[in-house]
Symmetry: C2
Subunit: 311 residues, 2 copies
């Protein structure tokens, strides 16, 4: 087995994922624990980390790199946002350091990646934490758009040298959760069954009507009331509609020209597959980033920061 050279932490709002990486950035061992940034008892981040991989930290004086919400105000220590345009080299210089002592008293350093911030023309800010590291890892070429689906979906556009020029967040996943779990629409729904036709119908409606987004969300309920969509199809219909709204709005904001070469999808398989279908209905080609974009980004960041040598 190759020698480990880096401990890479993906520490978000829900989970802590730790990977032991070799000199080529490949994963040797992987562990995870529930208890994201918001659930760390007494905000004892060092303790939570030692519980999950204290043995790794004892064994070798390995550098530790961490990305995600661990660098937010609610995290271990705040890593200030980098303003866009931003690239990997800048991000590597701006990691912050946190000291850590193992159970036996050995000193280690955790390098926390900064998030990105983007100021839009209208004076509004956008922020990301963790997704930037996935973007570095996905190796997005210059002048391309990448999409990171999720609770707060991100669309990022790269500049000529592959730097993140600007990005935009859509509340897609959170709205889906709120409307299905707490909304009046949710009362009409029957969950648990995939309905691809309802999903596609929702996507088409969202794509065509995104200028009327808060009206469309009511129309989803009416479609249920009027029997146009069966109760079992309503969750997928709403999901499709929200994806359609997101895709049409992001295409409009980023310009169609930026999508000519298609987009790169970064994220988990199930979600990316839904986005592929929806993007296809919008006439936008898509390709998937490698599954290991996160660890790849963490390793590239560590290498650019001089924490590990080139392979």
């Amino acid at each position: 087995m190759s020698q480990p050279v880096l401990i890479a932490l993906d520490w978000g709002t829900s989970n802590l994922r730790a990977n032991l990486l070799d000199a080529k950035g490949h994963t040797l061992k992987a562990r995870s624990a529930p208890g994201g940034v918001m659930a760390v008892p007494d905000r004892d981040f060092a303790g939570a980390l030692l519980r999950l991989c204290g043995d790794w930290l004892e064994a070798d004086a390995l550098p530790v790199i961490a990305s995600g919400m661990v660098g937010s105000r609610q995290g271990w220590q705040e890593a200030p946002y980098l303003d866009c345009p931003a690239d990997l080299a800048l991000a590597a210089r701006q990691c912050i350091q946190v000291a850590l002592q193992t159970a036996s008293g050995a000193n280690r350093t955790v390098h926390i990646a900064a998030g990105l911030r983007c100021l839009h023309d209208d004076g509004a800010y956008d922020v990301m934490r963790g997704e930037e590291t996935q973007i570095w890892g996905a190796g997005i070429p210059g002048g391309r758009c990448c999409v990171l689906p999720g609770t707060h979906s991100k669309w990022a556009w790269t500049g000529a040298q592959g730097q993140v020029a600007r990005f935009r967040t859509y509340l897609t996943g959170e709205l889906y959760g709120l409307l299905t779990q707490h909304g009046i629409l949710g009362r009409l729904m029957v969950h648990g069954q995939a309905r691809p036709a309802a999903f596609e119908a929702g996507v088409r409606r969202g794509l065509a009507g995104h200028h009327q987004a808060t009206h469309l969300l009511f129309a989803a309920r009416t479609a249920g009331l009027m029997g146009q969509v069966e109760p079992e199809g309503l969750p997928d219909y709403l999901s499709g509609m929200l994806l359609g709204i997101e895709i049409a709005a992001a295409s409009e904001a980023g310009g169609q020209a930026a999508l000519a070469g298609g987009v790169t999808l970064i994220g988990d398989d199930g979600l990316c597959s839904r986005y592929e279908t929806a993007l296809n209905l919008a006439g936008i080609a898509s390709a998937r980033a490698p599954a290991e974009a996160t660890t790849q980004g963490q390793w590239l960041l560590a290498r650019a920061a001089g924490l590990v040598g080139a392979a």
Copy 2:
């Protein structure tokens, strides 16, 4: 005191409001009880009505007219929707009748008003129940737009003869409730203090960016994170943003020409006042409908149905 000629019920999802009206449609007595359509024990609508105004029903053989969700599938008895364009005369012909027996065994009839349905060009339906009666009561002239703010805000456009030609619903109030009570944005908020400047800033952002609605809703959170809006201002900022999105979208859907003469606001004072401010920022003049639009509409409906004579 004038003689009562009609019992008018406004029976919605949250409350039952009963008014005893005279031959001119003026309210002689008013009562209300919590327990809307969804909260009637054992679906015993007759029992709920007798508890609130059994004495009125015993005293005289008065006709009873009811509007609102009481005519929905979840209500007392379903009154089929009328398709737009629809006017007061058609609505009066299409009330359904439900028999009721008082405690002493006297027979009374409840006339339940039908809701309206509107089929949009894109194949989606819109529905209303109760608001149509307020529109009849507000006496909206031909070729005008009226706005009924609420959980599900309605914009209705009248035809040349004052019929409801078409309408559109926006999920404004429900989204506000979901995002503040259950959303991630809500965690940043401090409630209880009016912040007019934050409200106006939100309206302006919503008006300018309604094509990016699901992005704007995330930007509201970022405005809090970045200190652009203080925690005490975030509720009003979000509220303003949702109103701005609604007003811009409805103006676009209905056409600017339809707004040239301004709009009529129908609803409770506090909400109408917020809409006045927001409409003003959008450059749209507004006037308020009389506060008694609901009972006036019920009385006009009863008169057109021949249940009460002309005054």
